[in-house]
Amino acid sequence: MKGMSIIVRTVCHWVSAFIFLYGLCIVVYGHLTPGGGFAGGVILACAFGLMVLALGKESAVRAFPVGSASKLDSIGALLFLIIAILGLFAGGGFFVNFLQKQHPGEEMALFNAGIIPLCNIAIAIKVCASLFLAVVVFSVLRVVGGGSDDEFASEEEE
């Protein structure tokens, strides 16, 4: 898929970084304002999705390679599970908010609410990587004549 006209490509260069920053803001303030891990992760993936639509799949894959997206996917999920297991060792139970119990921050501040911002960040990493992979996989289909098999050599199912 080649890119689109010059106007679309220039605007995409300016706007996609801003969308990424906005997504990061939603993730990090997830314990104070609506949003959090999942919604922020979707917005982060949308920044890359805009790059796929406006600049072409090759350019987006150069910015965020498929192999490292796959690894970040698993690493984000593992990070979430490790935070939960740390609650078992440090706090006495699974998923206990041990940071809030031992080092409570002040109300309505950024470094507050224990493990919740850490969980938000882990979930955002996972969701961003997963949705980016989904968008890239859906844009890879190119049926030529009777259909050839080589586009599906690297399958990434959900």
């Binding site: 297991i85 006495g92 206990v96």
Partner: protein
Amino acid sequence: MNLMPWLIAVPLGMGFILPLMPKRSPRISDLLANLATLLLVILSVSLLGKTAVYRVGGWEARVGIVLVLDGLSGFMVIIVAAISFAATLFSARYMDRYTARPKYYGLFLLMVAGMNGAILTGDMFNLYVFLEIAAVASYALVAFGCEHEELEASFKYAILGSVASCFVLLGVALLYATFGTVNMAHLSEKIAVVAPGTPAYRVSMFTVMLFIAGLGMKAALVPFHAWLPDAHPSAPAPISAMLSGVLIKAIGVYALVRVMFNVVNVAEVAPGMLYALMVLGTLSMVVGVFLAVGQWDFKRLLAYHSISQIGYVMLGIGLGTPLGILGGLFHLANHAAFKSLLFLTAGATEYRTGTRRLEKMGGLGQKMPVTAGSSLVASMSIAGVPPFNGFFSKLIIILACVEAGRYGFAAWAVIVSIMTLASFMKVQKYAFFGRLKEQWVRVREVPFVMQVSMVLLAILCLGMSALLLPGPKKAFLDPAANVLSEGKDYSSTVLTAQTTGDQIVVSRDMGEK
């Protein structure tokens, strides 16, 4: 008692680690996956006979999620762990023909984690979430080979499964709207005081019907069975064993009986629903076996027999009497063992001969003795031949029908059993006995790991008849049956247990009643 969340965390963690493994060395992922399922077996056996309630995150029951381990959950967790260990052993060599092995194990362990979560949870919405985790993993696993038929079967399965999950979520939404809580114990307390004729009663009954439709579709009861004959044969053989052996039980039958006996307690509130369950079960038995006798595809025949045997389980549990529930649950455990063994032997023959059509096979027993022997053991179990476990569980169900006065249902059960025997004699004759065809002269036995997993399940098939002896019965089957037959006790167990100052709340041992 601290071990309960590890039953969900171990497969989940390993399922996230495995896709990070490089594709070039599949043996590492084999080893890690088998280690994970072996750990699950050890954990679940060590939790046998205990009763515990675990508050996740330290939050109280209404605000947070509780994990409940009682007789029925402990029983189901052991079944899931044992069958998944056999399946991962088998897939160590069977999956040589497929690529992307680490991702296969990742999806497999995610499915096991979803099933364990669905079994252990004490919260209706959490049940829906874990049900969906297991179901989505199984949609992807059915489509794993990406051939024509696998994709078609997976699409049908996914669409029907999503529609059923919408029904389940609608039921949970209506229950929350009427009673203000989704915790199972609180719900069961509130439903117990509802008087017939009030709007709350009507909503409860409508919700039970929604659950019978949604969860019955996951369990492949007859009007909702259309996905099973396509999905189970198309999956790779260890996945067929898992799907047919544990998935339709853990998220279908288990969830349905948990809701119907412990949350809504239909035995007292609406016995008509139990009669509906019995009718659906009998319909499944009859339709399954009649459609199975004409099949010539080995795995499709086994899939239809799955429908029929789940009908037996529903008939036994739908009776509502203690003997019926005991028979139903025992048949559930037996079916997990022999049906997964049957699918594994079908996979072994397909691994060596490359075909699933019965008329093309012939006399394979001379070349593959271990496979033929285990297949014979499993066929005799499912047909109900005396020293094997199937005979005892079917006998208990038929006796329970006669004891409750339902002679018609008992007659249908006997007829279906005879037709099952006929169908499996045909399978054995065409596949393993008879004259060896020329094209199979050079067929060898399957690799050693696959033989080990089949022999393990065959020993289980023989050994589970011993579960009816008084000692093992009291330890294993009786707590499970008691949880269902005295449905009201569930809420009192969960709610009035003593705290020990920790996350864990332990109550009395359900084995001593």
